[in-house]
C-alpha cells in the first residue's frame, strides 16, 4: 500500500501541491487555443457530409473572392508520391480523390477572422459522387462489402481474405483442442463493443507558421510534439529540423493527441498566406467526427474450465475496425485478453478491418478494454455456470513472475496476486446488496511502455535544479518528476522546477503515452540527476584533493565515503553550485535512451450496481479500483488515474457509443448525445494502491495511466447479470439494451 510518507523515501510517496497548480486554478495556464500572434489568421475546414464519396470537383473561387480570405487549400496543395504511414497521415489530413468518412476534411481556408473563415468555408462548392459505405465491423469484413481501399492490406494478410482486411495475425501456444478436451465446461460466446471517443474536454487546437523557405513554428496541444513535428513534415514534405514545435498545456488526450489531424493544415495555409501564423481550433463536432475515436470490435471467445475452476485452454478470434485506415488495436486486444490467466494452451486470431469511419487513434490501453470485455465476461459466465467464486477462480489461475504470458514471453515482476488479495480484503466486498442490486468484478492489464526519452537537468547558481522534459504534463507528471529528482539530489521538492520544453531544446521524445511519463522521463531525470551528482562529487573531490571515487552523495551534499577517504565536512549542493563558475563551469546532467525495465500493471475492479427493472437504467452504487502502481510517486495523482480510468470505462460500458445513421453519418456529434459520465452519475471511486516495486525503475514505478479503463466494461456487465439475471454481451449496456434483455427474459 502507498504509505504516504511512511516509505523509506523522504519525498517519494508524499502529496505536495503540483507545481503548475496555481496557473491552472487561476486561468493563467495557456492551452492550445489560448495563443495568438501578430498578423494571425483563423482557419475553417470544409468536411465531407458523406461516409464514402468520390470528390468530383472542388470550386474554391467564391471563397477566394471573399474579403479577408488569405488562403484556400485542398489536397492539390500537398506533395504527391507519399507512401506507407506518411500517405495514411496525409490522406487523413485532407481527402484525395475520395472522402472516406463523414467529417473527412476536403478543403480549408484561412482568413482575417473566424467568422470570415467560416463564411468562406460555406462558399466552397464540393461536388460528390456518393459511393456505397460500410460502418459495422461484421459488415465490413464480408467478402462483398464496399471496398474502402484496394491494396491497403499489408504482408501479414494471406491471399483470399475479404477485401477490407488489412492486417491479420495468429499467435498462441499449447494444444488448444486437447485443453478443451480436458475441460469440464467449454463455453463460447460472441461479444461486441462500439467505438468510443477519448472525450478530452479541450478540442484540438494549434497555431502554425510556415514561410516560403520551409522554416516554421507551431504551438499545439499534443501529447507529443516530436511526433507532431515528424508527422507534419512527412505530410508536407518538409525538413523536420526546420519546424520548431512548442507544446501548450494540454486539456486531456488519453491517446487521442498522439497523432495529427488538422495540424498540417495550419502550416500549409500559413505557407500559402505568405507566412502569416494560422490558428486552427476544432469545434466539438469536428473532434467527434474527424479525430480518432477507438475501434469497434466483434469478438468470439472460447474457454475451457475444470469443475474446480482451472482454465485449460482459451481461444479468441477478434475482428476490429479502426476506420478507413489500418491500425485497429486488435493485436493488443488479443494480447491483453487472457493476460491475467495462466494459459496452458491459447490461440489468438485477429483481423484489422477497414470501414467508413474516422481513423482510430490510441485510447487508454488501446484494445485492452475490448479484450477484457470478452474474456472477463465469459470467465464470469463460466464461474456462475460452475457455481464458483469469480475472485477465487482468478486467484487460482493468476499469473506470477516467471509464468509464460498468454501472449508468449515470460512475465517479469508483476503484482496480480497482490492485487487480487487486496481486493479480497476490501470492505466493499462485504457490503450487503438489496433487490435488483448486484456485484461484478473483473481484472485488466496493460504492458506499459518506454520509448525514446531525452531529459536534461541543470543545477542553478543557488543549488536548485531545473529539469527539461519532452513529455507534456497531462495529469501531474511535473510533480512526480520533481519529486523523484529532488529525492535523488537530496533537495527540497520546491527547489526543482520541471519544464516541458519545445522540440528545439532536447533530443527526440515519444509522447506522453503508454503510461510512460513518470516511468521514462522520471527514470531519465533520475539518471540525469545522478550524472550531475557525479560532477558535483568530482568538484568536491578536487577541492578536497581526494579521489572522486572516494566521495559519496548523501542528503544533498558531497561527503567523503568512509573514514579512509579523509575528514572533510559535507559540501552541500548550494555550496558547490555557488562556486561552479570558478570550478569548471555549469553543472548539468542529461540522459537520452529508450529506458529499459518497463513494468506491467494489473488491476482488479469491483462494482456494485442497481438496475431499475422497469426502465433498464443501471446506477453505480459502489466502485472499487485495486491496481499495482509499482510505486506511487505522488499517490494523489495515482488515485486520480485510477478514478479517471474507471469512470471512462464506466462511460464506455453504459452510455457512450458512436451512433451512425443509415446514411453512414455520425448522429451524436455533440456532448449532449455523446454521453460521457457527469458528476451526478457517480459515487466516490474507492482506490487501493498496491505497490509491488518495478525492479526496472530506480523508484519502482510501473506506470499507472492505462490499466484502469479496462476492467469496468466486463465488471459492470457481470454486476448487471448478478443484479437482474441478464447477460449483456454488447456495449453499450444502455437502458434500452438492458430493458430489452429483461423483456426477452420474461
Amino acid at each position: 500500500m502507498a504509505k504516504d510518507g511512511l516509505t523509506e523515501f523522504r519525498l517519494v510517496g508524499t502529496r505536495p501541491d503540483r507545481p503548475d497548480g496555481l496557473d491552472k486554478v487561476t486561468g493563467r495556464a495557456r492551452y492550445g487555443a489560448d495563443i495568438s500572434a501578430p498578423g494571425m489568421l483563423w482557419a475553417a475546414v470544409v468536411r465531407s457530409p458523406h461516409a464514402h464519396a468520390r470528390i468530383v470537383k472542388i470550386d474554391t473561387s467564391k471563397a477566394e473572392a471573399l474579403d479577408g480570405v488569405k488562403a484556400v487549400i485542398t489536397r492539390a496543395d500537398f506533395p504527391e508520391g507519399l507512401t506507407g504511414e506518411a500517405w495514411n497521415l496525409q490522406e487523413n489530413t485532407m481527402a484525395g480523390d475520395r472522402a472516406l468518412y463523414d467529417g473527412h476534411a476536403v478543403a480549408a481556408v484561412a482568413a482575417t477572422s473566424a467568422f470570415v473563415a467560416q463564411d468562406a468555408a460555406r462558399l466552397i462548392e464540393v461536388e460528390y459522387e456518393v459511393l456505397p459505405h460500410v460502418i459495422d465491423v461484421d459488415d465490413a469484413i464480408k467478402p462483398d462489402a464496399p471496398v474502402i481501399r484496394e491494396g491497403a492490406a499489408d504482408a501479414t494478410v494471406p491471399e483470399g481474405m475479404p477485401p477490407n482486411v488489412v492486417r491479420y495475425m495468429e499467435f498462441g501456444h499449447g494444444d488448444v483442442e486437447a485443453g478443451f478436451g480436458a475441460a469440464d465446461l467449454v463455453m463460447e460466446k460472441t461479444y461486441k463493443t462500439e467505438a468510443t471517443h477519448q472525450g478530452y474536454i479541450e478540442p484540438h487546437a494549434c497555431m502554425g507558421q510556415m514561410g516560403e523557405d520551409g522554416r516554421g513554428e507551431m504551438w499545439v496541444c499534443t501529447q507529443g510534439h516530436w511526433f507532431i513535428r515528424k508527422m507534419c513534415t512527412d505530410v508536407l514534405g518538409l525538413d523536420p529540423a526546420q519546424l520548431r514545435v512548442t507544446p501548450s498545456e494540454i486539456g486531456g488526450g488519453f491517446g487521442g493527441k498522439t497523432t495529427i489531424f488538422m495540424e498540417p493544415l495550419s502550416l500549409a495555409l500559413s505557407k500559402k498566406a505568405g507566412g502569416r501564423p494560422v490558428k486552427v481550433v476544432m469545434t466539438r463536432s469536428e473532434v467527434l467526427r474527424a479525430t480518432g475515436p477507438t475501434a469497434s470490435a466483434s469478438m468470439d471467445v472460447k474457454i475451457g474450465m475444470t469443475k474446480d475452476g482451472q482454465i485449460t485452454a482459451g481461444r479468441a478470434e477478434f475482428r476490429m475496425q479502426g476506420g478507413a485506415f489500418p491500425g485497429a488495436p486488435v493485436d493488443f486486444a488479443l494480447m491483453c485478453g487472457f493476460a491475467a490467466y495462466k494459459m496452458p494452451a491459447v490461440e489468438h486470431i485477429g483481423y484489422d478491418v477497414l470501414a467508413n469511419r474516422p481513423r482510430a487513434a490510441a485510447y487508454r490501453a488501446p484494445g485492452s478494454p475490448m479484450g477484457a470485455f470478452a474474456v472477463e465476461s465469459l470467465v464470469d459466465e463460466m464461474c456462475r455456470e460452475l457455481g464458483l467464486d469469480p475472485l477465487e477462480v482468478r486467484l487460482k489461475n493468476a499469473v506470477h513472475e516467471g509464468d509464460k504470458a498468454s501472449y508468449g514471453p515470460k512475465f517479469g515482476s508483476i503484482g496480480l496476486e497482490e492485487v487480487l488479495q487486496a481486493t479480497k480484503a476490501h470492505p466493499n466486498l462485504l457490503a450487503e446488496l438489496g433487490p435488483n442490486q448486484g456485484r461484478g468484478m473483473a481484472s485488466g492489464y496493460w504492458f506499459n511502455h518506454s520509448g525514446d526519452t531525452s531529459v536534461s537537468l541543470a543545477i542553478s547558481e543557488d543549488g536548485t535544479a531545473q529539469v527539461s522534459v519532452g513529455t507534456p504534463d497531462i495529469g501531474g507528471s511535473r510533480a512526480s518528476i520533481a519529486l523523484m529528482t529532488a529525492e535523488t539530489l537530496g533537495i527540497d521538492y520546491e527547489d526543482v522546477r520541471v519544464n516541458v520544453v519545445e522540440t528545439g531544446a532536447l533530443g527526440v521524445n515519444e509522447p506522453t503515452h503508454g503510461s510512460r511519463a513518470t516511468f521514462a522521463s522520471g527514470k531519465a531525470a533520475v539518471m540525469a540527476a545522478e550524472q550531475a551528482i557525479g560532477e558535483m562529487c568530482r568538484r568536491a573531490a578536487a577541492k578536497w584533493g581526494i579521489d572522486p571515487e572516494a566521495v559519496e552523495w548523501v542528503d544533498g551534499a558531497a561527503q567523503p565515503a568512509g573514514p579512509n577517504a579523509g575528514k572533510f565536512p559535507p559540501m552541500t549542493i548550494a555550496e558547490i553550485a555557488a562556486k561552479m563558475s570558478s570550478t569548471g563551469g555549469p553543472i548539468a546532467g542529461h540522459h537520452e535512451s529508450v529506458p529499459e525495465g518497463v513494468g506491467a500493471s494489473f488491476g482488479t475492479h469491483v462494482v456494485d450496481v442497481e438496475v431499475d427493472p422497469e426502465t433498464g437504467r443501471t446506477t453505480i452504487l459502489r466502485y472499487l479500483v485495486v491496481q499495482d502502481a509499482g510505486r506511487a510517486i505522488h499517490p494523489a495523482y495515482v488515485e486520480g488515474q485510477y478514478q479517471g480510468g474507471a469512470v471512462q470505462g464506466i462511460g464506455w460500458a453504459l452510455n457512450e457509443a458512436y451512433i451512425y445513421g443509415e446514411d453512414g453519418r455520425l448522429q451524436n456529434t455533440v456532448f449532449l448525445d455523446y454521453r460521457i459520465p457527469v458528476a451526478s452519475d457517480l459515487p466516490m471511486i474507492d482506490t487501493v494502491i498496491v505497490e509491488v516495486p518495478n525492479p526496472g525503475h530506480p523508484y519502482g514505478v510501473r506506470g499507472v495511466g492505462e490499466t484502469g479503463i479496462t476492467p469496468p466494461l466486463p465488471a459492470i456487465a457481470n454486476a448487471i447479470h448478478d443484479a437482474v439475471g441478464v447477460r449483456l454481451r454488447s456495449l453499450p449496456m444502455s437502458p434500452p439494451a438492458v430493458l430489452a434483455a429483461l423483456k426477452a427474459k420474461e
Binding site: N655, I659, V678, K743
Partner: protein
Amino acid sequence: MHYHSPSTFEDAARLAASTTGVTRFLAGGTDVLVQMRAGMVLPDDLIDLKGIPGVADIQQTEDGGWRIGVAVPGIQLGAHAALVADWPGVVEGMELVGSTQVQGRATLTGNLCNGSPAADSVPGLVAAGATVEITGQDGTRTASVEDIPAGPGKTTLAQGELISAILLPPRGQNGGDAYLRFIPRTEMDIAVVGCAVSLTLDGDTVTAARVALGAVAPTVVLVPEAAEAIIGTTLDDAALEALAKAASAACNPIDDKRGTVAFRTDVAGVLAGRAAKIAYTRAKGA
C-alpha cells in the same frame, strides 16, 4: 446578421413581419446560439426580447393564476416559492432543462418555441392547461400550449407573431402535478420519454386529470385516454395499470440515437404511473 433589441412586443412583431430573411427571437438563447454555432440556422435578423419591460417578471393574476414573462429563466422559476407551491410539476419540468448554467438562461417560452417533441417543460405546461399570450401586428390572442408545436422544430405561430407571456390557470384546491422524464444519464440529456400528470382530488378520488407525454410523437401530446383511466379512481393498482396502458398506447415514437420505439412505449407507461403517484401525493398534501 442584424441584432435588434426592441422595447415592446409590438415593435418586435413589426420587425419580425418586415424581415425577408431568416429571423429568430432571442429569449434565453440556449437553443438559438447552439443552432447558430453549428451553422444549422444562420439568422439574418436576431430579435432579442430581453429589453422589453416586464419580460423577466412572474406575476400572480387576479384569478389566482400566473403570468410568466418570456425571459424568465429556469433558475428564477425554481426560486419562486409561491409558484412552486402551486405548480411544482411545471417548475420541475423547466428545471430539468440543461445544467445549472443553462438554467441561468433557458426559458419556458424558448423551450416551447424551439418545437422539440422532447422539450422537458412542455408536458408540464400542457398537463397544467397553460395558455400563451401571442402578440402580432394586429394585437394579441391566446392559445393553448398544446396548440403551439406543429412538429419537430416547427410552431403554429405565423410570421410576425411571437409569444408575449405564458399563462398558468389557478391551481385551485386539492390539486397536484408532477413531471418525470427518462434520460440515460442523471443529467444533461434530452428526454427519451417525458410525462406530466396534473390532477385534482375530492377526498381520495381523482376528479380531474390531464396527462401529457413528451418525446413519443412529433409533438408533445395530451392524452385524454390516460386521464380518463384515473379519473374517478383512488389511483389504485388497477387504475395505474390502465393509465400505463393508455399512455403506452398513445405513443407514436421513432427509433433514434436516444431510444427505441419499444423502449419509449414501455417507459412512457412506467413514467405515467410514477408521475401520477407523485401528483397524487402532492394533491393530498396541498
